[in-house]
Each structure stands twice: as C-alpha cells, then as structure tokens.
Subunit: 229 residues, 2 copies
C-alpha cells in the first residue's frame, strides 16, 4: 500500500521481491497438490516441475524437505492449534473433547497431504512444532477437565490421540475417494470407547518416548526417500 | 520319494523342475522381504534383483503383480481363513469374536508385507479370494452368534472389521519398530466399543460396494505403480 519511489525498497527491488513471492506461492501450491496426491514422500523434482521452477530454485528456498512441508502446512497447523482453544472454551469439557477429536480427524480427512503431518515430528521446523506443542498443552488441559467431570475414562492417555490419528490416517488412505466417510465410523467407535462407561482394562498406551521415536522415524523415512529422489 | 529312472518325469526333467521350484522359492522369499520393507507397491525389479533372477523370469512366472502377491501370501491367507473356524468353535461367541479380531490384527502386525493384503482385493487371484470369501462367510456367522448372546452391539456391521483392519494398518505402519505394540491399544479400545454396553448411535458404516471399490482401488494403485517400475 502507499508505494513510494523514494523509500526503500525501490520499485525494482519490490519487483524482484514480488517475483520471489510469486515463485514461493507457486511452489507451495504445487507442493500441496503433490503431497495430497502422492504423500509427503513425493519426489521434490515433481514439486519443482509442477511449480514450473528449477530444482535448484526449490532447494535454495527449501533446503530440506521438512522446510517445504512446514511451509506448505503452516496455516493448517495453526488452525489445528487454534482448535484446542475453542475446545477449551466449551463449557462442557466432554462435549469439547468429542468435538475437538472429530474436528482434527476431519482435518486429516479433508486434506490428504495434511493427513500424516499430525503423526510426524519435524524437529527443525520451529513454527510448526510450536503449534504442535501449543495444541498438546491445551489437549492435556482438556483431558484433565473431561476426566474431572467423570465423562472421559480415567485410563485415557494423551498418547491415545496420536494412536487415533495414526489409525485415522490408515482409514483415510485405504478407503480413499470410494468410501470417503469411513473415518467417521472409526472416530464414532473410538469416542464411545473413550467414554467412562467402558471400564475394562486396556492394553498399555505406547510410551511417550517410543511414540516420539516413531514420529521422528516416519519423518526420517521421508528424508531418506527425498535423498533418493 | 522312490525315484525311478524308468517312470516320467525322468531325472533330467526332475532336475529342471527342481531348478524351477528353487527359483520360485527364491522369488517368493525375496518378494516377502521386499513387500515387508517397502510395501506391496515395491518395484518388481527389486524383487527380481533380490531373488537373483532376471526380470523376464519374474514376469514369466508371475505375469501380474497380483499373482506374485497372491503366491507370496497364500499360506497367510489360508491361516487367516482357518482362524475363523477356530473362532466359531469357541463355545462363547463373544470370546471367540474378540480372540479372532485380536488374532487377525496381530497377523497384520507380525508381517508388514501382509498388513495391507487384508484390505485389498485381487479379483484374478482365485485361491486368495476363495480364502477371503471363506473367512467372510464364517465372520458373518460369528457376528450373528455374538449378537444373539447380547454381547456384541446390534449395530455392529460386518464392514467394521475392514474399517478396523484399515485403521490397524495405519497404526502398524506409523508406529513402526519404535512402538510396535501400539496396535494392541487401538484394538483394545475398538473391542470395548464393539460391546453392547455402548448404545450411542454411530455414524453409518461404509456401504459394501463403496468399501469393495476402495479395496479394488488400493490394488489398482499397486498395479499402476507396477507399470511404472
């Protein structure tokens, strides 16, 4: 707004910057499509081709695959983290809990690229991981409140959300476009299983450090593929 | 046994046949390893390389990828179908039901190659599909008995086993070796959700024809990959 030829950046710089921004937007659009169609381990070269930029340009902007993934899904991760604030604002914690779980599982279903982002960690992607940490802190608070009302079973673990997100990703991928609402059936069952009416002991939840390793490994798998590409 | 040089096949033919059998066994061993490591869409060329045979030999024996998948997992599919007979022999149908579900989910977890075989169809693989059909017939009988005792919820659908197998595959793949027992937690929750104590209505189960299309599509995806390889 209010462009001035006197003040830096001058029109020439601004022109360059606009080109750079346009390139960046094209790369992110292309990455979003390619990740949605082929998964997060899609070849980087395919992203560059779809964006109409050279592979060198792509790597200059996004030196590692996780940088590209983080940039592509930055808005989604922020929406994911914001969703927990709405859940915490619900006067009925159990209702807030169920609505939240359905919502984030729905976010996985609505965007095939994003489906697996929630079950991986990208340690160098600071903004993305800050959103994930914010969501996690809020979720542990929501769990405590929902247990305090007696509606959420006492042996529910914060790890169980990751288990469900992994399971949901499996259903979304396998059911595909042929049976796109199948995930709702899974989530419906799981929410009922989470309710305190079910008192039969469960197999142990995965340990946090093991689950974290799994989430890092999934991501390292992507990196290994990236190096092959 | 009791080889005779007079009776066909003569020793020379038998020698050839033995070579052929040895090649076949090496291909199936290699396919099993490669499918377990890289998934059912692993390059056919990688199977040939690992088996130490030419790609032409591989395609002569297994003209389509589904032929190779079917041959590789023939014994597992038979064991899968046999498991329903044991479940039906349980005097307590609900106990038989729970044991069966845990067992086949455990079969998915124990063999990464086999994990996805149960959520795909391979229409031309007659023996494999006959085993699948036998398992399905037995499972519908088990469902009827477990509902009749009042232990299995009346709105449980035969499609829900496929939903669970898809979900379980997602957990097995994502949790990997880092948290290998995570699938037990999922199955524990789902079995409790299946019990008749849960009376809240569920989202509808996927329609059979949609689920079948999904299972065919998953397989067609593999074929498309095969053609690229």
């Amino acid at each position: 707004m209010n462009p001035s030829v006197d003040a830096p950046p001058g029109p020439r710089d601004r022109g360059l910057r606009t080109d750079a921004e346009r390139n960046r937007a094209r790369i992110l659009d292309a990455a979003h499509s390619v990740f949605a169609e082929q998964g997060l381990d899609a070849p980087m070269a395919e992203v560059a081709r779809r964006a109409g930029v050279g592979i060198a340009t792509l790597y200059r902007r996004f030196p590692a695959r996780e940088d590209l993934i983080a940039a592509t899904f930055a808005d989604k991760m922020t929406a994911y983290a914001d969703a927990i604030d709405e859940a915490l604002a619900d006067p009925d914690p159990w209702h807030g809990f169920c609505t939240y779980v359905e919502r984030i599982c729905g976010m996985q279903a609505a965007d095939r690229g994003f489906t697996h982002v929630l079950t991986m960690t990208f340690p160098t992607a600071k903004a993305l991981e800050a959103d994930r940490a914010r969501a996690y802190r809020g979720f542990t608070e929501l769990i405590a409140r929902a247990k305090a009302t007696g509606a959420l079973r006492p042996d529910f673990s914060d790890k169980d959300l990751i288990v469900l997100l992994m399971a949901n990703a499996g259903v979304i991928g396998a059911a595909g476009d042929a049976a796109p609402d199948t995930w709702r059936r899974l989530v419906g069952y799981m929410l009922q299983a989470f309710s305190a009416g079910n008192t039969t002991p469960l197999p142990p939840a995965p340990r946090g450090k093991d689950l974290f390793r799994a989430m890092v490994h999934a991501h390292q798998g992507q990196r290994a593929d990236a190096q092959d590409a």
